[in-house]
Amino acid sequence: MSAFAVSAAPIEPAALRSELTDPGCGGYVQFEGWVRNRNEGKGVLSLEYEVYEPLAVKEGERIIAEAIERFGVRRAAAIHRSGPLELTDLAVLVGVASPHRSEAFRACRYIIDEIKLRLPIWKKEYYADGSAEWVNCRRCSAAGHHAD
C-alpha cells in the first residue's frame, strides 16, 4: 500500500489499521475527519471534495515521510476521500503506529495539520439555506471584493 491514497469509495478504517499492525509497536493513534453538520454557523447538508490527485498523492507521501523522519514513528499512512459525501461520512483517515504513544500522537497531529494546509484538495459545502460555497474562498477574495 502507498503511504497516502485518495479514494472515491468509502474509507475502511479497519483496513488501514491492519496494514499498520506491527509487533514492535505499543501505541497506535488514528485520526478521522467526519463530515459535520455545521460550519461557521451554517447548517451543512452535504459536501463534495475536489482533489487534484497527482499532486495530492505526491505531497501526501512527502508529509507521511516527514512525520516518520521527524517523530521517529515506525509506520504511518493516510487516505483522503474525493467526491460527494454525506453527514458523518469519513472524509480523511490518518493512522500512526509507534513503539511508544507520545510520538504516535505528535506524528498523527502533524500529518492531519499538514494535509489540511498543503494538499490540493477543495471542499464545497451545501447548506440548509440552499446555498453552496467553496470553503475558505471567502478569505481568498481580494480586499474590497466579495467572492460570490
Binding site: 499532486l55 480523511v92 489540511k116 490540493p120 484538495i121 477543495w122 474562498c137 481568498c140 477574495s141
Partner: protein, 79 residues
C-alpha cells in the same frame, strides 16, 4: 512563450473553464494570474494562494519557461 493553465474548484467556476493554452509575456505565475484576471472578470475577485508548475508545488514568483503547465489553486480545504 506558450504555457498551459489549469484552474481548480472556485477558480474553475469563476472562469468557467478548467484549462486553457495561452501565449504570454508573463515572467512569473503571479504576473500570469494578473493577466488571467483581466481576461476572466470572475477571477478578479480572487488572488492566487498556491501554485504548482509541472505538477510540483511552486512559488508565485518563480520564473516560467516555455511549455510549462501552471496550476492555479484556490485556498485548500482538505481534511
Amino acid at each position: 512563450m506558450k504555457v498551459e493553465i489549469r484552474y481548480f474548484a472556485a477558480f474553475r467556476e469563476a472562469t468557467g473553464i478548467s484549462a486553457e493554452p495561452v501565449d504570454t509575456e508573463a515572467g512569473t505565475p503571479a504576473e500570469l494570474f494578473a493577466e488571467c484576471s483581466r481576461r476572466h472578470p470572475g477571477l478578479a475577485a480572487y488572488s492566487a494562494s498556491m501554485v504548482a508548475v509541472n505538477d510540483e508545488m511552486s512559488d508565485l514568483h518563480c520564473a516560467l519557461t516555455d511549455g510549462d503547465t501552471v496550476l492555479f489553486f484556490p485556498p485548500v480545504a482538505g481534511g
